[in-house]
Structures are given as C-alpha cells and as structure tokens.
Symmetry: C2
Subunit: 442 residues, 2 copies
C-alpha cells in the first residue's frame, strides 16, 4: 500500500504495510510469502502500467492501463447483479477464450445502463487500445467505474487512451499512477505484491484495487452466471506460468476469502470485476502439489490484502470489523450469519461509537439463519466474552466499549451446532457515509 493520499481527498487512514499484514488476515496466511515494498501490479515481470488524467474527471487521474507483453492466460470474476455494465459484458466475451493482452479502465463514469451506445463505447475503448498496441480488440479487457447512466464522452478517451499508452512503463510510479486513476470515493490507492519461492524458482503476484461505496461483492467466474455488491475493481498479475483453467480455479478460490467476504454497504454494483493475468515471464510453473498450494496462497493473500484495504477505506469508515463465525452446521449457514452481522446498520453504528449494545449481535445472528439455536450461541468482542449459552455474561461495559473501538475489531461468534466456519469483514457506519453519498454527484 502506498502511504500517500490523493491530493483532493485527505485520508484518515494509516495505510502502512503493517496494518494490512496484521491480525486481520491470518487466513489464508502468508507463510512463505515475501511482501515487496511498494509492490503493485507491475511487480510481476511482463507487465507495464499507466495512469493519467484524460478528462472524465475535472482534475484527478481517471484512466489506467495494464498491459502484458503478449496475449497471456487470463480469468475474470464479475458482479452477479443482473444489471451489468457494458464493459462487464465485453470482458465476459473476451475471457471466454481464456486469454487477454491488456486492460483499459476509466473512472468517473460506469458506462452502465447506457444501452447499445454503451456496448459500442466499450468495444471502441478496446479497439483504441488494441490499435495503439498493435493488438486485436478481442484481446483487450475494459472496465469502468463511476456514475451509472451516462454515456462515455468518447472524445476524451480517443485522445486519452493513446496518451496513456505513451506513458506505459513497468516502474513503480506507473503502477501507482494506475492505482490512483481507478479511484472514485477511495481516499488512498490500494496496491501490494509478494514473491513466493516455488521448486523451479521464484514468482511474483501483485495487484491493485478500488472500492469505497457500493461495496458488497459477490463475484462469479466469467463462465458462470453469478452475484456482487459494490463497485469493487481489482486487477491481479503474476509472472508464474499458468494455464487458463487452473488460473481461473485459483482466482475463484482467492475471491472466496477476499472480495466475496467483504461488504461496506451490502449494495452489489453493476460493475464489480476481479481479473488475473499470468504473463509466464518468470518461466516458473507450479509443478508439484506443494507448489500449487504456495502459488494459491500468494494469489489469495494478495486478493485478501487488497480486499481488506477496500474495507478499511470504505466510505466514512473509521475501523475494520471482522466477524469470525464458527460452529455452524455448514459453510452456507456460517456465511449467512456472518453476512447478517456485517450488513446490520445497527451493529455497524454501534461499533462506530463504541456503544456496548451486544444485544444487536444476538439480533443479527438470530435473523441470519433459520437453523440457529439461540441457547448455544457464544460471542466474544475483541477477546472479551459477552454472550455464553445465548445469554449475556458479566462484563464491564466500559471495557467492552474500549474493545469495540480499536482500529480493527475481531468479533467471534460460535454457533455451537457443527464444525463449519466463515469470516466476513466490514467497516463501521458513520454519519460521514451519509454525507458522502448524499453529495456524490454534486
């Protein structure tokens, strides 16, 4: 993560490496991973990036490129919202072939609910980039994020995309510029990369992401027909040698413990997109089962680190809440309960202010699934037991309030029914969320 902020949106977040690598992400764990300082989407060999201002926004960067040296194996996961932006539909078609050469992303305009013109505009964005790169339009991925329902001003993209191609480089500054150019209400750019040693040598996995509001992703593979809650965009790269099929499988697994386990407001966007491109430039493949596990861990860890950065930078957020639900009869039950907790306005507001009202946790557990046994529930907040056997246990309300207001709060919920578990991350709900979303356009 960069610790610098966009000039127009001062941040209240400490985005140091240590914060993201902290206690919130023991799973899938990063044992064997070496996190790279200023690591980002070009840390993996074979990728260049650029981020510029082309004129979709008044003055902030609004156009990013990520370009591989050649057409490479690629996979994508997309929003399950039935109202899908034109670029989402375009990407699904491109990825049917399992390969891509490059990605163009604009912020400031979602190109959603824009009909046939929107489809033509997404295709033209791809064609402009393909022409500038000497590639084919069906090798180009397209993403958009911003206001829904407005046609793209294609004139600025017709000059902007070639200008961005001129700026392409593998330098960390270019990757940082790309991370900034995809931001909407984000207050900090989000990027990371790690190196992992496989049997045949080391490979790198990196990425950038943006989120902030309309965040509650529920992503599905391009080949499926799925569900997402936010404009969450995340772009991962690796220089490992990976064929399209195992690459898609690894991306799907990484999404479960990262973007599909976070929510800011539970509102699934029309544009959510998660992409992974594998350049193969390291010449190293994951040949053994152990190598495949290590590579999966690296991809999952990068995805999770980016997803947590999205939560931490959620609109109006002042802290991260992690709900660890265990003792469920199956993972579906655990996830329903975790999601019920993470999307409850009453809980998110209570944790904003340190209101020691643990009864709201019981409410959300009870409404989360019909198979709950209220008398077997136990709850800890920041390690402090507040519920056992479905009843409140003696605790100091002031101490509970203190544990509710740390930078990152772990809420453990044991259902006492079985052995399945799930985790969801969210942020608190502040008056600032209302202010931001009451004045998004104005």
């Amino acid at each position: 993560m960069s610790d610098t902020h966009s000039d127009s949106a001062p941040s209240v977040h400490d985005s140091s490496e240590d914060r993201l690598a902290g206690s919130a992400s023991p799973d899938p764990g990063d044992a064997g991973l070496e996190w790279l300082a200023e690591g980002s989407v070009t840390a993996a060999a074979g990728f260049r990036a650029a981020g510029i201002h082309c004129g979709l926004k008044r003055s902030r960067p609004d156009l990013a490129l990520i370009v591989a040296d050649a057409s490479v194996p690629a996979a994508g996961m997309f929003t399950t919202n039935r109202v899908q932006a034109a670029p989402v539909r375009y990407c699904r078609e491109v990825l049917a072939g399992g390969r891509a050469r490059a990605l163009v992303v604009n912020s400031g305009n979602a190109n959603a609910c824009t009909g046939a013109q929107g489809e033509r505009d997404a295709a033209e964005m791809a064609l402009i980039l393909a022409t500038a790169l000497g590639a084919e339009a069906d090798e180009i991925l397209v993403c958009s994020t911003g206001v829904i329902g407005r046609n793209l001003p294609m004139d600025v993209l017709r000059t902007g995309i070639p200008a961005a191609v001129e700026a392409l480089s593998a330098a960390a500054e270019s990757a940082d510029a790309a991370a900034r150019a995809i931001m909407t209400t984000d207050t900090v750019p989000k990027a990371c990369a790690c190196r992992v040693e496989l049997g045949g040598g080391s490979v790198v996995v990196g990425g950038i992401a943006k989120g902030s509001g309309m965040v509650g992703p529920d992503l599905e593979l391009a080949a499926q027909g799925g569900a997402a809650h936010a404009t969450t965009l995340a772009f991962l790269t690796t220089d490992a040698v990976l064929e399209p099929t195992p690459l898609a499988a690894m991306l799907q697994r990484a999404a479960e413990g990262s973007f599909n386990s976070i929510t800011v407001d539970g509102d699934t966007s029309t544009n959510d997109t998660l992409l992974l491109l594998a350049s193969g430039a390291s010449g190293v493949a994951a040949e053994s089962a152990e190598d495949r596990l290590l590579l999966q861990r690296a991809i999952s860890a990068v995805a999770q680190r980016l997803a947590l950065a999205v939560v931490r930078d959620g609109e109006g957020a002042t802290r991260v809440l992690r709900f660890d639900v265990s003792g469920a009869v199956d993972e579906g039950q655990a996830r329903r309960v975790a999601r019920s907790l993470a999307n409850s306005p009453l809980i998110k507001t209570a944790f904003h202010a340190g209101e020691p009202n643990w009864g709201r946790l019981m409410m959300a557990v009870g409404k989360g699934d019909r198979g709950i046994d209220p008398d077997s529930i136990a709850i800890r907040v920041g390690g402090l037991e507040v519920v056992a056997g479905g009843m409140g246990t003696p605790h100091d309300a002031a101490e509970l309030s203190r544990r509710m207001t740390t930078d990152e709060v772990v809420i453990e919920v044991e259902l006492g029914l079985g052995a399945a578990a799930a985790t969801m991350w969210t942020c608190d709900l502040s008056a600032e969320y209302v202010r931001i979303n009451a004045t998004y356009l104005t």
Copy 2:
C-alpha cells in the same frame, strides 16, 4: 394519530390524520371506512387501557395495559428471528388456545437473551396482571421492548402492574397513555381506529403501535415458525364477533400489506409482535362474504396506517419512500426487488439529500433477483420517468431532485416480465440515524 409529542423527544413529524390517510395508502383502500378522530385501541367496545411510568425508564411512561372485559378470541404474529425474547415465547404458548384476556407491555427493557430468569420474569408479569384482574396467567399476553440482555427489575413491575390496573379506563386519554408507554426511540405515539358498517350493524377496529429502529418486520402466525426485522409492536382490537380461526387469517392478511411491507433498517428484532383481540362487544359478526371483505379491509387499513406511522417515525427519518414494483413474474420476485430497493443504504441516502442518482435504483433492482431482464426495466420517481428499456431517459436532474425530496415519494419500478406486484415502504437514511444508534444506551 395524536399530534402531541413525548416531552423529552421533540418531533419533526406532522402526524395529522391527513398525512397518514394520504396517497401512500390506496391499498387496501379505505372505501367504506369511517376514521375516528383520536381513535385508538379502546375505540372498540369491550376494551380498557392504561399507560403509566413504573420505573423502568427514568421519567417517561414505560408500562401499558390493554384489557378485555373477558377472555376473548385473539391471534398473534411474531418475529421470525431465531433469537426470540422470553415474552414472545410466552405469547406463543398463550395463543395456542386462540384466546386472551389482557396484555401487559413494558418499554425500556426487551427481556431478550435473559435465559431461564427471563422466562420466569415474563411468566411473573402475566401472573401479576392476572392476579390483579382476577384472571388466569395463561390468559395474559406479555410484550417487552428496549435494551436486549438485561434482566427485568421485577420489583418495579410488582408495584407498577397493579398501579396500572388502577388506571385502566376506556377513555381516549388512557389509550393515548398506553400508546406513549410502549415508545422507545419513537418521537410520536401511533394510534388510529375506524368504524365499518356491516349487515348486522357497525363494528370498530383500532390499534396502537411503536417502532423506530430495528424495524424490518417479517412476522409469522404464532402457529407457524416464522421471520421479523425490528422492534415493531402493534396491538389491534375490534368489537366484531370473530372466532379465533378467521381472526388469525384476517390478521395474517393484514400483516402482509402493512408490517411485513415496511423496513427502517432491515434489522429484524427479537421482539416483534402483532396482536389482534376481538371482544365481540358489538354483537355484530361478518356473516356475508361482503361483510368479511369489509371487516378485512378495516383490519388491514388500521394495520397499514400504523405501519406507515412507524416508517414515518423511523430513526432519523425525514421522508417516506414507497416502492411499487410491478410486472414481476410472481409476487416473490416483486417482493425481493422491492425489499432490495427499500434496504439499500445508497438509495436511502440519495433520497435523504435529493441526490438525483437514479443509477442506484437500477443497481438495487439488478441485485434483487436473478430473473431480472435489465433491458425491460422502467422506473418513475414521483411520476417522472427516469429509466425506460433499462436505460436512462432524458429528464431534468433538478426536477428529479425536487421530486425525490417531497414528504412522501412514490418510486414505480416496472420489471416488464409478468403481472405480479408488491409494495415496500421505507424511510430515508440520515446522519441522525447514526447519531441515535451510536448513543442508544448512553
């Protein structure tokens, strides 16, 4: 509705009769119904009420009674949250017999997550009232609302309930005192009553309700095993002659278009309860099919008027939003889409400020159901067309903003798939909601 406010919580709401009988409630309609000025839970013959301060709260009224002259047919619908407060469990048992004599309600303490002691306390509340009335404890209904997880201070109830019995009367002032005594974060008491002429004479239906936060009821009949989102309490009375079975059926139907069609924050409470008692004191039964329809209309209209009063007085609310979803393949789809719209923080915030961001409506429609066809969606806001064929239509953003900020906004969503429809009501989301819920205990 009373137009006076609780002394400690000044209201921003105009709660005149005209507001509640306005355009938001054409369905089930009130043709043939005569609304009674200052009508409430004792407007129907055969009922007395009381509301007093007994000491659960510092100074505001906190204990209410509604008492029939004898054991009468009764039915109840309760939260489907699996974490159910002790009084909910107690009421379910009482109503297994289809009759009740009286109801005792306290505010300030939910008696939820209180274990075996909570069960004993609910039973003791019933016994105290039964003793004071010369009735049996299994004829007494018990409700609680307030903070979860604290044992009731039974000493104040042991003196308070007999004192409330002394205050019982059929006078409008007593009914108003009861409506005030059940309030938590409500800023105004909620009550209404209407008279309807049946073949054999006229009957009256009335009631009181409270809501404010943790409101998103999903009620089921006592005999079933069901789902609710709020502490919503509503108590209806009628002097019609009605046997338990048709009475329960009428209550269930009334709940669908009222309390099960509203949401403030989507959080289903542990305590939601809707009760209907029929004294038979009018001596008039609904003998014909037409009479049964008229009586159903009266019960439904009272329930809907009270439910809309709960929405209007939602925590931090400044306006009511009504989502009319039509053109669905079935009612389930219509309700899922309407609920997705009504629970979206991004939409509720946009309507708070008049942010003309109609794309958020498309987002919520698309995430509401997997069978949506984005290209067939049409949307009007306050009569202004903003979407047709899934795309934005030309409209003046300033005019849209004006229509989003009326006292009551009707949002029409046509899915273009079939003939089924559903309506959900909610309120806007303001920074005041966060303030209220960040300081509920303190």
